[in-house]
């Protein structure tokens, strides 16, 4: 049994920010010529006067956002992670994060699923970069339900927020009863043998992996960490202590991302044997989504295999 498919996060982005703008005149959308891809076009249709096309000039776009925020507006940024984070990084640092201005950077096309565009568009270290940035809240939602709630939380918060969204339809983890809490990680499955910690759209695949592992008698405790900063230290430590073994799984580099954050946390608070799954200090490449997940060890089956191998390795010690 696997989790069902949800809606694409980018559709939820376009709809949610449009709905926010219906009642909040501070909301503006700044687009880097990708509104048809990020679904910011939904906003343009509803609020054309507050949809500000910035052209293919992302450094300026982030600077304009800072200036508008300083004048009381709440800009949302519409572009791909590659051009929302990496290209205008110095503008984010100096003009947005340092003065803690109220800009919402919503990066679309996070992770490996970038529509067969390959490594230029696959940013595999955005979590590492953004969570290291002082004042920057960093959120990686699991599905469409959590995406909508995280965007609404960001709009209610006064300060810079980075949310990374997946282009393609992904599995739905949560139902409508779910309530996103920026300060909390979420136990999505109870278990006793090993703790699997994940973030973003990888979490549903990890839940499926736990189901596969259950069939062979391995009981997995699964923790979803939507907020990379501020990090739920107590939740991570408690989940690790539940089993005494941790495997982190992320559609991202293992350096500095979720795996890095968990290693830092456990090293300081509760040293625990752990394994980090994700991109092993390498770039992405062109392939179908299924092939990419398989190649980088992030499909449910590959995660289950690697967890089994890790447990066997630990048992031999």
């Amino acid at each position: 049994m696997t989790l069902p498919m949800g809606r694409a996060m980018r559709e939820v982005f376009g709809e949610t920010v449009t709905a926010l703008a219906d009642t909040d005149p501070r909301v503006v959308m700044l687009d880097g010529d990708l509104g048809t891809s990020t679904r910011a076009e939904i906003f343009e249709r509803a609020h054309p006067e507050r949809f500000l096309q910035m052209g293919i000039a992302e450094q300026n776009m982030l600077g304009v956002a800072a200036g508008m925020a300083a004048s009381g507006f709440m800009p949302f940024i519409s572009t791909f992670v590659a051009f929302a984070v990496v290209r205008p990084l110095d503008q984010i640092r100096v003009l947005i994060a340092q003065p803690k201005l109220n800009v919402k950077i919503i990066g679309s096309y996070a992770g490996l699923f970038v529509g067969a565009a390959g490594k230029t568009h696959q940013i595999v270290d955005d979590i590492s970069i953004m969570r290291a940035m002082p004042n920057m809240v960093t959120i990686s939602p699991a599905d469409d339900v959590e995406t909508g709630q995280a965007i609404r939380w960001a709009a209610a918060y006064d300060g810079p927020v980075y949310i990374r969204l997946v282009r393609d339809v992904t599995q739905r983890l949560f139902d409508d009863a779910y309530a996103f809490d920026v300060a909390k990680s979420v136990v999505v499955r109870e278990g006793t043998d090993v703790t699997l910690i994940s973030t973003g759209a990888e979490t549903p695949r990890v839940v499926d992996a736990a189901e596969i592992l259950a069939q062979t008698g391995t009981s997995c405790h699964v923790l979803h960490v939507p907020t990379l900063k501020p990090l739920d230290v107590a939740g991570i430590v408690a989940a690790a202590n539940k089993t005494g073994l941790v495997v982190t799984v992320e559609e991202h580099s293992i350096i500095g991302g979720l795996g890095g954050a968990v290693a830092e946390t456990l090293g300081e608070h509760s040293p625990t044997a752990m394994k980090r799954l994700g991109l092993q200090d390498t770039f992405g490449e062109s392939a179908s989504n299924a092939d990419l997940l398989d190649r980088f060890g992030l499909s449910s089956n590959r995660v289950a295999e690697q967890v089994t191998a890790f447990l066997a390795q630990r048992a031999r010690r």
Partner: protein, 296 residues
């Protein structure tokens, strides 16, 4: 040391000249005392800053967050001492506080920090960014229906940053005719290209290059002597008159280190600190009685 009286009329050129002289005095005094700071660019921009803060800009120093104020971003953020001297003399904070520049716990950080000092509309310091923030402020004013105008001051070396031209393109595209970008065209950057030898540094741009570039990007361009107060005041009056729908660029031809004969046009005075003899000479040339204590 006190703040200057508010200049009632932007046309009072003598009062603006006196404000500029006092800005230069406080720049030199501050850098001489704390032994850090960017002297050359702070002196080349002094006349423009005087004309803005004591003339053209609608501001309320006792209400630094007044929503309808005119905005200013110092895109060439390293010349912060010049802006701090201007704000202090204009009454945003005590002139004595200038001597805390770049010291622990100061509100006067090395580069402008809007989170610390009221009166700063944007944090700047990494070049090529203040103009983008200014474009955002101009867009915000238009959306909000505010009469606020936005001014930004760039360096000529800074105009080598590609993001300046991203901002210029977008400002023109949105017809932001309440946005004024002033380029402090002092013909020197920190090091720059070599001319005839190591000591001879070439200007950041070729003659006429800035005028043609800003024009090509769709801006209304005014070229002036950036040390002639009447020309500056006239240019700012024209720039804020919305004679057409274009944003306005003022290319202010200036001299790096202006006012100190030994520093003018010398690229090393980008960040040089005066000797006691140079400080005394500077004060004399600026027409300020030598402060025996500060010169010691």
């Amino acid at each position: 040391m006190t703040s200057l009286p508010v200049v009632p009329d932007a046309g009072d050129i003598d009062a603006l000249r006196e404000a500029a002289r006092r800005i230069r005095v406080e720049v030199v005094r501050t850098i001489n005392t704390v032994r850090v700071g960017h002297m050359g660019g702070s002196l080349s921009e002094a006349d423009v800053l005087a004309a803005l803060y004591f003339g053209a800009m609608r501001i309320r120093p006792d209400q630094p967050h007044w929503p309808e104020r005119d905005r200013f971003t110092l895109s060439k953020g390293h010349a912060s001492v010049g802006l701090y001297a201007t704000l202090a003399l204009r009454g945003f904070f005590p002139v004595e506080e200038l001597l805390t520049f770049d010291q622990a716990d100061t509100r006067l950080q090395g580069h402008p920090d809007m989170t610390r000092l009221p009166g700063l509309d944007m944090s700047t310091g990494s070049l090529g960014m203040g103009i983008s923030a200014a474009v955002g402020m101009a867009l915000a004013a238009r959306l909000a229906g505010s009469p606020s105008r936005t001014f930004t001051l760039l360096g000529d070396g800074e105009c080598q940053e590609g993001s300046v031209w991203e901002a210029a393109m977008v400002a023109s595209r949105y017809r932001l005719n309440r946005l004024v970008a002033i380029v402090d065209h002092n013909k020197l950057q920190q090091f720059g290209w070599q001319g005839t030898g190591h000591e001879d540094r070439l200007p950041p741009e070729e003659p006429g290059e800035l005028v043609s570039k800003w024009s090509a990007f769709g801006w209304r361009v005014l070229e002036i002597d950036g040390h002639d107060m009447a020309q500056i005041a006239d240019a700012l009056a024209s720039a804020t008159s919305q004679t057409d729908d274009r944003p306005v660029a003022i290319i202010a031809n200036t001299i790096k280190g202006k006012g100190l004969s030994f520093a003018e046009g010398q690229y090393l005075w980008h960040v040089k600190i005066p000797t006691p003899a140079e400080f005394a000479q500077a004060m004399a040339e600026l027409g300020e009685p030598v402060d025996a204590e500060a010169a010691r």
